[in-house]
């Protein structure tokens, strides 16, 4: 959460909003929001409706909690990207293909992005991008797709 707080402005500059979601009560969530000084809202799925409907419900812990995941929802309410935490998680190649089909990366994606920060030196290898996507890679993929959306 602190990680997302720290890059919140970057996401906003891409036109992306952020919200957190857990099955906690508003009181518990407000404690978390204050503790981490989160600049985005926390949604309280106390009835566990959304986590169940989205298949992100872990029934085996603490009476049922959310599975850690990051989901990008497009303005049309379609799921654009879903990354689920957990060692047992298998990355679905079909989902990645669907994402890249919807948001094609140029052959040399470095040329497509204004490289204006000194830390923007992550090797752009397919392995890193597809198998172990870091937050930076997610941000890059989102930025690319938005850049393309603006050009359309």
């Amino acid at each position: 959460m602190a990680e997302f707080r720290d890059v919140y402005d970057d996401f906003r500059s891409f036109g992306i909003q952020i919200a957190a979601l857990a099955v906690d009560s508003p009181e518990q969530s407000e404690r978390v929001r204050r503790q981490y000084e989160l600049p985005f809202p926390i949604l309280c799925d106390t009835q566990k409706e959304v986590v169940r409907a989205w298949g992100l419900f872990n029934a085996e812990e603490k009476g049922g909690i959310a599975v850690g995941a990051v989901v990008l929802v497009g303005r049309d309410r379609r799921i654009r990207l879903m990354m689920v935490e957990g060692v047992a998680t298998r990355v679905r190649a079909a989902d990645l293909l669907e994402f890249f089909r919807a948001h094609p990366l140029p052959a040399n994606s470095a040329d497509d992005m204004p490289s204006n920060s000194a830390d923007d030196v992550t090797p752009n290898t397919p392995r890193q991008r597809a198998i172990f996507p870091s937050l930076v890679d997610v941000g890059r993929a989102i930025r690319n797709s938005l850049t393309r959306a603006r050009k359309l």
């Binding site: 909003q17 929001r33 049309d76 879903m82």
Partner: protein
């Protein structure tokens, strides 16, 4: 680990309204009118 079928990429998410941490109702479709939304599902307070 998790119950039910995960929403697939490309699937249409059902609209929902949930209270935020100060009790204000937040509806997915209304939030999306301001742009795409990244939702961070997390395990919760501990």
């Amino acid at each position: 680990m998790s119950e039910g079928q995960k929403l697939r990429v490309g699937a249409l998410a059902e609209d929902f309204t949930l209270a935020d941490s100060v009790g204000a109702p937040r509806t997915l479709s209304s939030m999306l009118s301001d742009g795409p939304l990244l939702i961070i599902f997390y395990r919760g307070y501990w």
